[in-house]
């Protein structure tokens, strides 16, 4: 019976779609135009990145490549700009950043949602309100805090020309990976707490209570009961946080003074000279820098979409 009911309207729809109405044509023309408009800059960047700079100098960007297309710019960027090292820099910053943020945010969210205490709403508000603070506001005091915070110097791991300090190589927070990791954790914890708290509200308190009855301590409940239940939320947050931290340009530029410590986004600046700027080379570098988030997005698409709607409905 349900099949009959379903097939009825479907035939109607099919018939309707055969008649091409002007509104539909306009709609599709509009959609195609919008897609073209959005994709144009991307294709233009790809096109430019495949042309040697000399070719565009001689003939301009609005010309058909006289000497053909090549991957020479990509090769240059890979070797001359040492892009692989800067990917590594990003990784060194983002991976601990994401893990730390999730651990801390889930702890706050856990305490504020699974237990009733006097200030739990205020604490939650405090963390969410932190989102509203524009990071640029605190940059000057932060610079001085970083310059005056002593950090242990525990040696470093050397890879090629690059040296990854364990904690600090100048006994300060300034100009260190750990400094960048910490500032990311600070600024992302607010958002992550907000989202995770909303998700944890959907977990009934009875689970926590029965775990308590079974003799689990608070830490145990957080780690063995609540965190596993939050896996979808954590996965969604991890992918979002990864892209947030990956795309950071500002902190790395302001709080790092060594060019070779920069993550890939700010390292692209190194492709500019004093006067001459090879835009084709920069296009190649920028496209390479775009790749990891795109790959992450394709692989973890489901988490992304889940992340966008996470906590929007209370279960």
């Amino acid at each position: 019976m349900s099949t009959i009911a379903a097939s009825g309207p479907r035939t109607v729809v099919r018939k309707a779609s055969r008649r091409i109405r002007p509104a539909r044509v306009i709609l599709h023309a509009f959609l195609i135009a919008m897609v073209a408009l959005w994709l144009f800059p991307l294709f233009w960047a790809i096109f430019a990145s495949l042309r040697p700079y000399g070719d565009t100098v001689m003939h301009g960007y609005l010309s058909w490549p006289a000497n053909g297309l090549s991957f020479a710019n990509y090769q240059d960027v890979w070797t001359q700009a040492e892009i692989p090292y800067y990917y590594l820099n990003t990784l060194v910053i983002v991976v601990p950043g994401v893990i730390l943020t999730l651990l801390l945010a889930s702890m706050v969210a856990f305490c504020c949602t699974q237990f009733s205490w006097k200030f739990n709403l205020i604490v939650l508000l405090l963390f969410t309100a932190g989102n509203l603070l524009p990071p640029q506001v605190i940059i000057v005091p932060l610079y001085w805090v970083y310059l005056n915070t002593p950090i242990a110097n525990l040696g470093s791991i050397d890879i090629g020309n690059f040296s990854f300090a364990i904690f600090s190589d100048n006994n300060l927070l300034y100009d260190q990976y750990i400094g960048i990791i910490l500032i990311h954790v600070v600024f992302q914890t607010g958002f992550a707490t907000f989202v995770l708290a909303n998700y944890m509200k959907t977990i009934t308190k009875e689970i926590t209570e029965s775990a308590l009855v079974d003799g689990a301590n608070v830490f145990r409940i957080w780690w063995s009961v609540i965190l596993p239940l939050c896996r979808p939320a954590l996965a969604a947050m991890a992918t979002l946080l990864f892209t947030f931290m990956y795309n950071d340009f500002f902190w790395a530029l302001v709080l790092l003074s060594h060019g070779n410590k920069r993550p890939i986004t700010s390292a692209l600046n190194n492709l500019q000279g004093e006067f001459l700027i090879n835009y084709n080379l920069i296009a190649a570098g920028a496209l390479l820098a775009c790749l990891p988030p795109i790959i992450i997005y394709i692989l973890l698409q489901r988490q992304f979409v889940a992340g966008l709607t996470l906590g929007s409905t209370k279960g």
Binding site: P52, Y53, G54, V57, M58, G60, Q80, Y143, L147, N170, L172, Y174, D175, L253, V254, S257, H258, G259, N260, S266, N269, N270, L271, Q272, G273, E274, F275, L276, I277, N278
Partner: protein, 462 residues
Amino acid sequence: MGDSREAKRVRNLLAAKDAALNLNLDLSRRDVLKIAGYGSLAAFIAACGGNNATTTTGITAKGGTMSLGSYNTDPNSKKGTQAIVDAFTAANGGTKVKLNTVDHGTFQNQISSYLQGTPEDAFTWFSGHRMRFFADKGLATPIDDVWDAVKSNYTAGFEASIKGNDGKAYAIPTDYYPWAVFYRKDVWSQHGYTVPTSWDAFKALCVKMKADGLIPIAFADKDGWPAQGTFDILNLRLNGYDFHTELLTGKQKWTDQRVTNVYKKWSEITPYYSPAFAGLTWEQGADQLLRKQAGMYLLGLFVSDEFKASGSAADLEQLDFFAFPDMGTQYDAEKALDAPIDVYMLTKKSPTLQTDLGQAKAFMEFVAKGSTQVLYWQNAPGSIPTANDADTSTYPALTKKAVQIVSQAKKITQYFDRDSRPDYSGPNGMQGFLLKFLSNPKQDTTSLQGQMQAFWDSLPPE
């Protein structure tokens, strides 16, 4: 068997004795290479071992370590800097140089926080007001002792450019490049143009070029700073070096009638500029010259970089330039021009400077040598060595000519943004004001000049 081997050894020894007497070593080319290879390997190992040994002589020290902050990120200058550092390490008992390279734009924008934070021992910078500013702030170490040792290698003009307001030496000038009017020799000979020496001849040439279907003067001001080059040269020619430097440091008023004259004269050539110049980068302006669309281009010697980047050596060969024409004032005789000088300086707040001071000073002495500067120039040919003992024999014609017009100049300026305060020369200041002027050059500039002065007055004390 043992016996025969022994006998062979003795025989060989005797033969070797003979050979040594005749100096007939009979070494093949490969043997020589091998020996050279082992030799350099041994030297390398020795150098590695000696890294931490510091020997001090006078103000400089060998061995040990030092660090250098560099803004040379484009491939050529990066290679040049690395070549200098390697040569220094080899020449100074294996001093290990930690090099921190940050791109030019960021380095300049963050110089203040860089110098107050944890900078390297030495750093690349500019002479002129920008150097004196940080010297006054106590963020640079004076190097009078180094300068006394090397000053015989420099002209008085360079010496003046590295003195702080307190009269101390703060930097070692290493390279410079002049601003001039560039053109293509082939285009000019095709149309029969000749180099104009007076303002009227210059304007007449523009008219002729326009009639021939060329853009007479390529002009590109998207980034704001290129227009300041024209302001500099017009002000220098019309009002002289002293007025120009005083104006840029606030000792003269922007509302002065002499400034009005500069804008009046400037408006006579603006009709010959590239169309839509406010949206063109300097590279696009250079491309107009390269593609034979434009006749002239007032810019720095770095315009040759774009010609080189085109990959066409034939085009680069056609590039030539002349000094800006005379304006018929008493200041023509100064032959003044913009020739920005790049320098090396010592920081003050480097955490390692106490221990590395000897090595850092040795490095400053090293970059003051002509041979060092030529080494850099070979990698980055847009920058001309400053030292008197630099070997000029290998310079191409364009570089030789650049040296010539700078040596003829009685007064040298450092370019607007290096001679004035950075906030005044930036996009909110003169870069914006000049674009406003250029959008309507025939306007009465009184109110615009009033804005310029008001902006200067509104700036906090440096």
